[in-house]
Each structure stands twice: as C-alpha cells, then as structure tokens.
C-alpha cells in the first residue's frame, strides 16, 4: 500500500464540532432505557422527525453501522451477524446492524462463540433493545427485509411497522423532477402511509401524536437544510473552499440528529466557515487541479483515508450523488404548517428510489454547476442498490458530458472489499485521462 506523505486535505474545523454532537447523540441513546424512554429501531428514510415528535428515542440502523465502520469497530458485530447465519455478501450495513441485534439480545458468548471479547463488542452491544421497529425503505429489497430479520432475531416479540414507498420509475409521459402525475400520486400515497404510521406510533406510545411539535421540528430541518445547501453552493467556486468529504461528515446531522436550534447553529457554523474560507482564498484541497464528482454510497471505513488520498493527487471531490441528492435536499418543499407532504416528498426523492432519468438529470446539473472534470464511481460490493445505474451514468458522463470516468471497488462498511491499489491505479488513470483531454483541447 502506498503511503501518503503529506495530508493536503483541509477538512472543515466544524467537522470536529460535528463529531462531538454525533457522539453525544449516541451516548444519549445508549442510556434511553435508564431514562425510561421508548426506543425504535428503523431503517431507510429519515423518519426521525416523526419519532422526535412522538417523544421516542430512535436508532437508525444504517447510521449505527456507518458509525461503527467509521470508528473501525464494526468487526465484532459483523462476525456476530455472520455466525448467526448472514453471509458476507449480504449488505454490510445490515450485516453489521443484525450483528448488533444478535449482541444486544445477548445470544452472547455461549452461542456465538467467536464474538466473546467483551471490550471488542462493547459498542456494538450497547444499543438498547427496541420497543418496536419501523421500516421505511424503497429501492432495495435488502433494506425492506432488514427490519424483518431483526424482528426474527429478537424472537418476533417486538411490533413492526413497514412503510410502503413506491419506486419513482419516471416513465409516465409527464414524469419529471418534482412534477407530473407520478410525483403527485406517489406523494399522496406516502402521506397516507405516514398517517398510518402516526396511528401506529400513537398505539405504541399510548399518547396522541403531537402534530404541532412535528411542524416545529420540520421548521428546524428546513432551516438547517437551507444553510447546508447554501454552504454547498459556495463550493462552485474554484478552488472549492470545502469538499465532498465535509458534506459526508455532516450527513449524520442532517439525516438523523434531533432537530432543534443546535442543528441550525451547527449548519450556520459550517456555512460561515465555508464563506470565510472563500473570502480568504482558502481551499478544501491545497493544490486543486481536478474537480471530481463522486457517485456511490460512502465507504465509511475509509472516510479520512479517501479524503487524504484524493487530496494527495490534487483532486478535489466537490460533490456527489450521496451527499447532494439526498437528505432534505429540496428544503422549499417543507411546509411546517403541513409537514407530512414535505416528509413524503423527501422520502420519494431519495436517490436510491429514483429512476435513471432523474439521476441522469441530477448528475448532469451537478457536473455543470460545480465545473466537474471527472466522475469517480464507488462500486460498493455489498450495496448493489446504489450501483444499479452506475454504468449508465458513466456512459452519460462520457458520451454526453464529455467527462472522463473511473470506477473503484469498495464497500459501505466491510473494509475487506476495499483494495487501495485498485483505487490508486484507477484514480491516477482518471487524472491522466483528464490531462489528456485538456491536452486535446
């Protein structure tokens, strides 16, 4: 493996502050039982505003798996998942989280045999057992079945609610981004689903749902998202004052952290820092020579490593599908007076649930807006859903936008599927291809 001599990545200072907030959130969740709070385990879309309004503590399975992977603590949970019977080709997010369910349920030393070192499994097993599950996944059958699997691991004793969410094929004649019959019909359908979910939550909590609270929560999310989008837009400047890795680092905040004034303050801090950098000519990558778009779900084991790796090659990854086409990316759709519609529409807007037409349009726009020179595709081994359209998108980039592309293999939360040499070669070749294109022009 090549060693990186110099760290030329210049991550936002706010990332450190953000890390503290996320840590505090998880610590609080770990003590939910002691505080007498109810706990829901959920997967898929950002259903947390509903849980927050209902006064329930929430654990997003993917987020916890990503956190374990980012801290290189995923091993024990993945082993437990595998020993329980889930092969390593299964989505490593779900494998990790299912392993947490195994550990949480304390099948423990005697049954798993392998994962018996208490200090190793400590974090993975600290998740409080759920009072119920909610699944809200579309576009991936693993995601849809994941909570069903956890439900079985926990002995089918815990209630489960599955939200049904349509895939946005975009094939109706008038279908388009945020418009058309498919969009309107699907929105109505999901709003109806959310109303049913609220009924379920009322049964579970034994309390009437607080709709006013939900409106207030959504107003925080709307403001935070606006700040995030504005900060991102400042990176259209060359050199970019912040990079994709900074936006990856703030996914947790926008995607599942409690919506309150602190959230707005955090994103205000992010935007201010980006604006300051812009004003004083400070770049996210010391010697930005290439501006890249990143397509693919994040490789959480390698966040810092990838940031350094790309920067080392003078490549500023500016934007990407994962960060820029997910997570409350159209805040104008949120109406705190009528929050369910904005929630529903953002669930439908998840890039994992969008047909090729929309993905192509979004990538084209981002490449254009951000002055992109090349597209790097992360082909995640165990998250196939996110790789579905990648070759089609590569063709669009190459043939229609004239932008060179390259693929590298890795994974969301299983480090074994990443090989540094593969990325190194592909990245260098991509940059050489960009140089060749510049020479031609």
């Amino acid at each position: 493996m090549a060693s990186l001599l110099e760290d030329k990545s210049n991550r936002l200072r706010m990332t450190g502050r953000g890390g503290e907030l996320v840590g505090a959130y998880w610590d609080e969740l770990f003590t939910a039982r002691e505080r007498g709070a109810q706990v829901v385990w959920y997967n898929g879309h950002a259903l947390n505003p509903l849980f927050q309004a209902a006064g329930i503590s929430w654990c997003h399975g993917e987020a916890f798996s990503a956190r374990l992977a980012a801290q290189h603590l995923e091993g024990p949970a993945q082993l437990a998942g595998e020993e329980y019977g889930y092969v390593n080709e299964l989505c490593s997010y779900s494998r990790t989280h299912l392993g947490c369910a195994v550990l949480t349920n304390d099948f423990g030393e005697s049954e798993t045999g392998i994962v018996d070192t208490v200090d190793q499994r400590e974090l993975a097993s600290r998740l409080p057992e759920p009072d119920f599950f909610v699944n809200g996944y579309q576009g991936c059958s693993t995601g849809q079945q994941w909570d069903q699997m956890s439900y079985r691991i926990l002995g089918k004793k815990v209630p489960i609610f599955t939200l049904s969410l349509p895939y946005m094929f975009g094939s109706k004649p008038d279908a388009g981004y945020l418009v058309g019959e498919e969009w309107e019909t699907a929105t109505d359908y999901v709003v109806d689903q959310l109303e049913k979910l609220i009924e379920f939550l009322e049964v579970q909590t034994g309390r009437p749902f607080d709709h006013d609270k939900l409106g207030e929560i959504m107003s925080y999310i709307k403001a935070a998202s606006q700040l995030r989008r504005e900060a991102m837009a400042l990176c259209m400047a060359k050199p970019a004052p912040a990079t994709y890795w900074d936006w990856v680092a703030s996914i947790a905040h926008i995607n599942f952290m409690p919506a309150e004034q602190r959230l707005i303050d955090y994103f205000q801090g992010v935007k201010d820092e980006v604006a300051d950098r812009l004003a004083s000519g400070v770049a996210g990558v010391a010697d930005e020579r290439y501006r890249l778009y990143f397509d693919g779900i994040m490789n959480w084991n390698k966040l810092g490593w990838l940031a350094r790796k790309f920067a080392d090659a003078d490549a500023a990854v500016i934007c990407g599908r994962y960060t820029h086409q997910n997570f409350w990316q159209e805040p104008q759709l949120i109406d705190p007076e009528n929050p369910l519609r904005g929630l529903a529409q953002h669930y439908l807007l998840c890039s994992n649930s969008q047909g090729f037409k929309t993905l192509k349009q979004a990538m084209t726009k981002d490449c254009d807006d951000y002055g992109i020179d090349g597209v790097i595709f992360h082909a995640s081994r165990t998250c196939r859903a996110y790789t579905n359209h990648q070759h089609l998108l590569a063709r669009v980039a190459e043939n229609q936008l004239g932008i060179p592309t390259a693929f590298f293999e890795g994974d969301i939360a299983d480090a074994a599927f990443y090989k540094d040499e593969i990325l190194e070669t592909r990245l260098a070749a991509l940059l050489e291809t960009i140089d060749a294109k510049r020479a031609r022009n």
């Binding site: 090549a2 082909a379 070759h391 590569a394 190459e398 060179p404 592309t405 390259a406 693929f407 293999e409 090989k419 040499e421 593969i422 070669t425 592909r426 260098a428 070749a429 050489e432 291809t433 060749a436 294109k437 020479a439 031609r440």
Partner: protein, 310 residues
C-alpha cells in the same frame, strides 16, 4: 551524452524493461517472469535489458515506471505512469491509428479507447474478479494438466462448446474438474473456457465502446486461443505486437521521453542505433555483446490464428 530512456513495467506476474534511444526506438527489451510483484524480478529485467543492449547505465537519461510495482524501482523512477496511459501510448506507437487497446495481464484486464494521438479517451478495468487474466489461465492449465505455454494450442484443438457457468478464477477450476469427471474431452473444455472468457472481455469492452482497429497486448495475448476467441467475439482481426508484454514498459519510456522533450518529436539527427534484430528468443547475441551503440531486441515470434503479427 545521456541518450537512453528506460521504461519498466512491474506487473503482478512479470517484470518488463524496455530501453529506447533518442529516436525513441527500442534498443533492448527484457521480460522476466517473477511469479509475483518483486523488486528482485525487476532488477533482473533491468540487468538483462542493459546486458543485451550493452549500454552503460550512466547513459540513461530517465527511468519511467508503470505497473503494480512502479514504486519498487531500484533507486526510484523519474516518471511514474499508470498502466492505462503507458499501454495506450506503447500500443499507439507500435500501431499508429489503433483506437482500442485490450490488455490482459497477470491479474488485470483493461479496455482502453485511445484517440488518434494515443492518448487515453476512456478506460475500464475488470474489478477484483481475475476471470480471463493470466492467473485464471494458469489455474486452467493446471487443472487440465498442461502448461501455460501449451494451453492456447491445446484449446485450439477443442471442437465442442460446453456450457461454462462460472468464470471465477477459483470456481472455474472446480467446474473444469467436474467436466473432466463427466468425461468431456479436455481440449473441448479448454476451448469452451476460452470462449466464455472472451465473452466476458467483450462485456468490459462494451463499457468503453468498441472501436477499430483493436490491439491485444499483455502476456495473455501470447495465447493463440484467447486471440482467436476474442477476435471471433469482436468480429475483427486483432493487432498483436510481436512481444505483447512490453507495451506498458515501452509506453512508459515514450511518455517519459516526451515529457523530457516537452512533447516534441524525437531527435532525428541523433546517432541512429543499428536496427533491432531478432535474437530468436535466446536472450543473448554475440553481435551485441560489448557494444554501446548497437541495439538488440528480444522478440518472440507469435503466430495467432486470427491475429496479425506485426
């Protein structure tokens, strides 16, 4: 006067070294089978190339490296290029006008579309699956109890087209063993595996788009059955360098020379070395020994059923 540029390609199973002169013509080559990425192997390739060319090392202007072991070059390389750019450049020099390069090495397959100047336009590589690469064919040869050198000729004798469902380098061997156990002719099995692997390579080519003319390089291009199957799958004749393993090292040397000269044309007034001549694969030549300016090239003669040997 420093005259030579050395290109080195340290791949997963072999090391290649090419020396070019001021006219950017090849004066020496060496190919050493290393088994794996090894500094020693690279050193041997360098020693062989220099020994054959009979040139002194202080006449070397620059060293360029490519391949997995590009950072292992003794003393460090002056230039480092990816295999993609190096192969593209090398092949474009050997076959002016080539538009698609398919390079099949020890554990990589690359499809590279190049422009008229030999610059990479787009490329695709196999992922970590080693199907259809040198390692894959080594496994096949082993399972069929033949050697890698004879595998192509052996497969060319096969007639039947058996269904091969797995092209994983590991599982294909299991499948071959199962077919042998069922009593199938080993030559038929070998031919079928070659066809299936060619179809897979076609998929990779599809990612960058087919363009003509097509050149096939890398160690696997020595396998006549691969050439035949891929040529058939593509529906066109393939250009095969006489020594298909050296294109990466040659391309690296050319790219370095071009960088040194600011992209200018070679110095046509430079002292012309004697024309390369064939050592008949023996690796030594009395005519070359001791001479500093005379050149030598180790070229292997390859005859491929559907390939044009240049």
């Amino acid at each position: 006067m420093s005259a030579y540029v050395v290109g080195m390609d340290l791949g997963s199973t072999s090391a290649e070294c090419v020396v070019i002169d001021e006219r950017r013509e090849i004066v020496a080559t060496a190919v050493v089978e290393t088994g794996t990425v090894s500094r020693k192997g690279l050193q041997r390739a360098i020693d062989e190339a220099f020994g054959e060319a009979g040139i002194e090392r202080d006449l070397v202007r620059a060293v360029a490296a490519t391949g997995y072991g590009r950072r292992l070059v003794p003393g460090g390389a002056d230039f480092v290029f990816t295999e993609i750019s190096a192969h593209a450049r090398g092949v474009a020099a050997l076959f002016p006008g080539v538009r698609l390069v398919v390079d099949i090495g020890g554990q990589d397959t690359k499809a590279i579309q190049v422009d008229e100047a030999g610059r990479v336009e787009r490329f695709a590589m196999n992922d970590r699956c080693a199907s259809g690469t040198g390692r894959f064919y080594e496994g096949l040869a082993h399972a069929l109890e033949t050697d890698i050198e004879s595998l192509g000729e052996f497969a060319s004798r096969g007639k039947a087209d058996l269904e091969i469902s797995s092209l994983c380098a590991t599982f294909a061997v299991t499948e071959v063993i199962a077919l042998l156990a069922k009593g199938h002719d080993p030559a038929d099995i070998a031919a079928s595996v070659h066809h299936a692997a060619a179809a897979r390579t076609l998929g990779l080519i599809g990612q960058v788009g087919k363009a003509s003319p097509v050149a096939l390089t890398g160690g696997v291009a020595r396998n006549a059955a691969v050439v035949h199957s891929l040529s058939e799958a593509l529906g066109e004749e393939l250009l095969i360098p006489e020594n298909p393993q050296i294109t990466g090292a040659y391309g690296a040397a050319l790219l370095a020379a071009e960088s040194l000269d600011g992209g200018s044309q070679p110095d046509q007034n430079a002292t012309a070395p004697a024309p390369p001549h064939d050592h008949g694969g023996s690796g030594s030549c009395a005519d070359c020994a001791g001479s500093k300016t005379e050149s030598s090239v180790t070229m292997l003669t390859l005859t491929a059923p559907s390939g044009r040997v240049v």
